[in-house]
């Protein structure tokens, strides 16, 4: 009796329910606007205040411009808001010609009355440079990038020559200065906006509702959920084709899932385990590029017998770097010969490298008077880092290699905090660790990793101090001539190869995953993601 009614009703319900799922893919439904799935909330909308990648990704290249910027391909510095620059012969005075007619964002909360000028540069630099600047204490008053480099102390004066020309005077020559002001953190804010907020008594708003000159205008931010950006129609370079949304998705598996369904167009930090899945799919692209990092094996050169270069060399010849690359990085890295990765302009393609030669290794050890059965420790970082995703495994492999030349290895690991403290005290024989740079300047590798001054500050894990080496680095900062600097860094490479305080192992790749409809996605090894020039093919 009831079946006459039941079946039509249930069928109707099922049809209604399935009505939405046409066999069409969901991803083809939506095509305007770009969705970037980021991994976390930015700390601030102003990268001057925070050095995390998350903050830089969300702000540095979307909302702001800098005076100069890095070319993501060549690593050279190129003009941005400064259309040209000159450096005085003594290398202390930098003169910047500023671009004319650049508009600041016109938003619901601010309408600019003038274009970009020297006042804005002064305002932006003086904010982090001068303690007495009225905006210095706003939003915490801590500017980590500039303070870690001592940049404020080295600037003697910033002068406005005229409305579109400024002059910066340094106390000491520093040829990495341009690289520092091209970094993600040296953004240009609007002085007019700052003044308006100050007189309204709400100065903090400058870091919450940002105004910049970049390709996108800030529109809306909901913590843990999204950041919305509008197109800056008055952008002084190519106006972006799409509006932009950061979809904040902390779980990397969920980011991948959303990339597959097309809810994200590009994702931040695809997890290493997901790489194979992304490569398998035709609609997804996994771009890779050697990152600005290095993973290495450093010897404590202040401890016998590692103070003897022969011993260090012997150990370097005992290991097969290619096997390490395969087993630890799963080939997501390239073999390191010197400290610098390929992305740096001072990269030396023909640098000397140690090969796998256990016979030579044993011979060198005998020469140095090291008897078979010698015991040493290898410290392996307890955390996963791009430059070394699995230091423990690498240490175990090295342990096997060294066993072949009759050297016994103890692998040591503590929790991360204790590990770093013990390292700083120099309690290790050798350590597997690495370094990621903040900007493209070679000095950012050579100086913190091996200079004498870097021993107390704790980044020189080899505790190696060589006056000749330091002298080369200082000389390299005394000139702006790229060729001279490059030649000097080649000398440094030779010196490092000769003394071998550390064995460079790998430069890990940086990855970016996105849908194949996107074009113009370029991995920027020198900082945050740039989405202004990305376009999405329409069906």
């Amino acid at each position: 009796m009831f079946n006459r009614l039941a079946w039509p009703v249930t069928t109707a319900v099922v049809i209604v329910m399935l009505g939405g799922c046409s066999p069409q893919k969901y991803s083809s439904n939506i095509n305007e606007g770009l969705v970037y799935c980021s991994e976390s909330d930015p700390i601030s909308m102003n990268p001057q205040l925070d050095t995390s990648t998350t903050t830089a990704d969300a702000t540095a290249h979307q909302i702001y411009n800098r005076l100069l910027e890095f070319d993501p391909e060549s690593g050279r510095i190129r003009p941005s808001l400064a259309s040209s620059w000159t450096i005085s012969d003594n290398g202390l005075v930098y003169r910047f010609e500023l671009r004319q007619g650049v508009q600041f964002h016109n938003t619901a909360y601010f309408t600019p009355s003038r274009t970009f000028s020297a006042d804005d540069v002064l305002f932006s630099f003086n904010r982090w440079r001068l303690q007495e600047h009225e905006f210095h204490p706003v939003s915490g008053g801590y500017y980590p990038y500039f303070e870690s480099l001592g940049l404020a102390d080295n600037i003697a004066d910033i002068k406005k020559v005229n409305s579109h020309r400024i002059e910066i005077t340094l106390r000491q020559r520093d040829s990495s200065f341009l690289a520092n002001i091209a970094s993600d953190f040296s953004v240009i804010l609007s002085a007019e906006y700052g003044d308006a907020l100050m007189s309204a008594g709400i100065p903090e708003q400058i870091d919450e509702l940002p105004i910049g000159t970049g390709p996108f205008k800030y529109s809306d931010y909901k913590q843990n959920h999204y950041i919305r950006y509008d197109i800056n129609q008055a952008y002084w370079q190519t106006v972006p084709a799409h509006s932009l949304i950061f979809d904040i998705t902390p779980k990397s598996s969920l980011r991948l899932a959303k990339l597959m369904t097309g809810e994200c167009d590009a994702v931040a930090f695809p997890a290493r385990v997901d790489h194979a899945i992304i490569r398998e799919r035709e609609d997804l692209v996994l771009a890779e590029k050697a990152g600005l990092n290095i993973g290495f094996w450093a010897f404590n050169t202040q401890r016998a017998p590692f103070d003897n270069p022969l011993v260090r060399k012997a150990l370097a010849y005992a290991i097969d770097k290619n096997t390490l690359l395969e087993a630890v990085y799963f080939d997501s890295a390239i073999r390191a010969k010197s400290l610098l990765p390929e992305a740096s302009w001072a990269y030396q393609a023909d640098a000397n490298d140690t090969g796998y030669n256990p016979v030579l290794a044993r011979k060198l050890l005998d020469e140095a008077g090291i008897k078979p059965g010698f015991t040493m420790s290898i410290w392996a970082i307890p955390v996963e880092r791009a430059y070394n995703p699995n230091a423990r495994k690498m240490a175990e492999l090295i342990q096997r290699y060294l066993a072949e030349i009759d050297v016994e290895v103890n692998i040591v690991s503590y929790d991360w905090t204790t590990f770093r403290r013990q390292l700083r005290q120099g309690n290790h024989d050798s350590v597997l660790i690495g370094w990621s740079a903040d900007n493209g300047d070679p000095d950012n590798f050579y100086r913190p990793l091996l200079s004498c001054d870097a021993i107390p500050s704790g980044t020189n894990r080899a505790r190696w101090c060589n006056r000749a080496y330091d002298d080369i680095l200082d000389r390299a900062l005394q000139t702006e001539n790229i060729d001279i600097r490059k030649a000097l860094y080649l000398q440094a490479n030779e010196l490092i190869f000769d003394k071998l305080p550390l064995v460079p192992i790998a430069h890990a790749f940086r990855y970016q995953a996105y849908r194949e409809e996107l074009s113009g996605m370029v991995i920027n090894p020198y900082g945050g993601v740039r989405l202004g020039g990305v376009t999405k093919a329409r069906d």
Binding site: M1, F2, N3, L5, A6, V9, T10, V13, M17, G20, C21, S22, P23, Q24, K25, Y26, S27, N29, I30, E32, G33, V35, D220, Q223, N224, H225, Y226, R228, S243, I245, D247, T249, L254, A257, K258, M260, T261, G262, E263
Partner: protein, 343 residues
């Protein structure tokens, strides 16, 4: 009638009082300063601390504090979130409608599918189709909602790519929240392609709704079936049949109504299960409802949000349960004969 209403009002007030007392005690039970848990503000200095203590009467006896706490609850002064600094009332009023919306759609599917299927199964009791429906519903009812949701995501989102797996609508549609109910908000928003936005919101709705509805439907089928079988065995059905009524007449006049009445209280219990399931499913589908909001609050140790969230959710569940019970009373003639006559 008025007596029933009054009785339920008292019942509700007492339950609410207990719940708010519980949430008030959390102010002292959470491992932070009571001031912080209560207001969501971490005092920066002693002066501010003192001001807050005075304002919230924290230096008075617990009873006085509680009285003020209740006053604040009714005035909408629920404190702010420790994490975002937003007023909790606003945050909850943004998240709760999303959950209610999801639960409501799921509930309608449960009713529309569950009752006919249960009736059919009951009428065909102990036949092949009954056994099939019954065993399928037993199986579905024992499936954990988390697993079901993940299977849905794997199949329909990742394998076939038909349906989106996160959120209520693609973020590219900028829908300002006015009522909190998405479909109404879409219709209220200008400057968007309404048809496409509605379609997109609908596509987002399918998987989470089905995941929740499946399990509760299975439960409802079994409840209805049992009830229909019981009613069919009643003497008045035999009497009706003896009078010569057709099967259709018997079903609609006698079976359906009598079978649904005992099923209602069980259905009410299902609603709480459904809301709980909805909160679990929300986190899987990144649905911005109260469930994922509470989970966030737990991760962020957002004590003030946890306190208010717990109170809001439990009050909602109590309200729904009482409302259904009341409704049940009003339509069930066998319970309170005297009152029902006065309706």
């Amino acid at each position: 009638m008025i007596r029933i209403l009054l009785r339920y009002l008292v019942l509700f007030s007492l339950t609410f009082l207990t719940l708010s007392a519980l949430s008030f005690s959390l102010v002292y039970l959470f491992p932070t300063e009571p001031v912080t848990t209560l207001t969501g503000i971490t005092p920066q200095n002693l002066v501010q601390h003192e001001a807050l203590v005075t304002q919230y009467h924290l230096d008075d006896s617990y009873l006085v504090q509680f009285a003020h706490y209740l006053g604040d609850l009714f005035n909408g002064n629920w404190g702010v979130s420790l994490f975002s600094g937003e007023p909790l009332l606003d945050e909850i009023m943004l998240a709760l409608p999303a959950t209610i919306e999801l639960s409501a759609y799921a509930m309608s599917i449960v009713l529309v599918v569950g009752i006919p299927l249960g009736c059919y199964s009951g009428l065909k009791a102990y036949t092949g189709s009954d056994y099939t429906i019954n065993s399928v519903s037993v199986v579905v009812n024992s499936v954990p909602v988390v697993w079901l949701a993940v299977i849905f995501i794997l199949t329909f989102s990742l394998q076939f790519g038909w349906l989106p797996l996160s959120g209520r609508i693609n973020l590219l549609f900028d829908i300002p929240s006015q009522t909190g109910f998405l479909f109404i908000d879409i219709l209220l928003t200008d400057n968007i392609d309404t048809a496409r936005a509605l379609k997109d919101a609908f596509l987002h709705l399918i998987l989470p709704t089905l995941a929740i509805a499946f399990i509760s439907t299975a439960a409802l089928v079994r409840i209805t079936r049992r009830s229909v079988i019981d009613v069919l065995n009643q003497p008045y059905i035999i009497a009706a049949r003896a009078k010569g009524l057709s099967s259709r007449q018997i079903f609609f006049r006698h079976v359906l109504r009598n079978a649904l009445l005992p099923a209602l209280p069980l259905l009410a219990m299902q609603i709480t299960t459904l809301i709980t399931n909805a909160m679990i499913v929300e986190t899987l589908f990144s649905w911005p409802g109260i469930g994922s909001w509470l989970i966030q609050a737990i991760y962020q140790r957002d004590y003030s949000a946890l306190r208010m969230g717990m109170l809001a959710v439990s009050t909602l569940v109590v309200m729904i349960t009482i409302a259904i019970d009341l409704f049940n009373r009003l339509i069930d003639p066998s319970r309170e004969k005297y009152e029902s006559v006065t309706i």
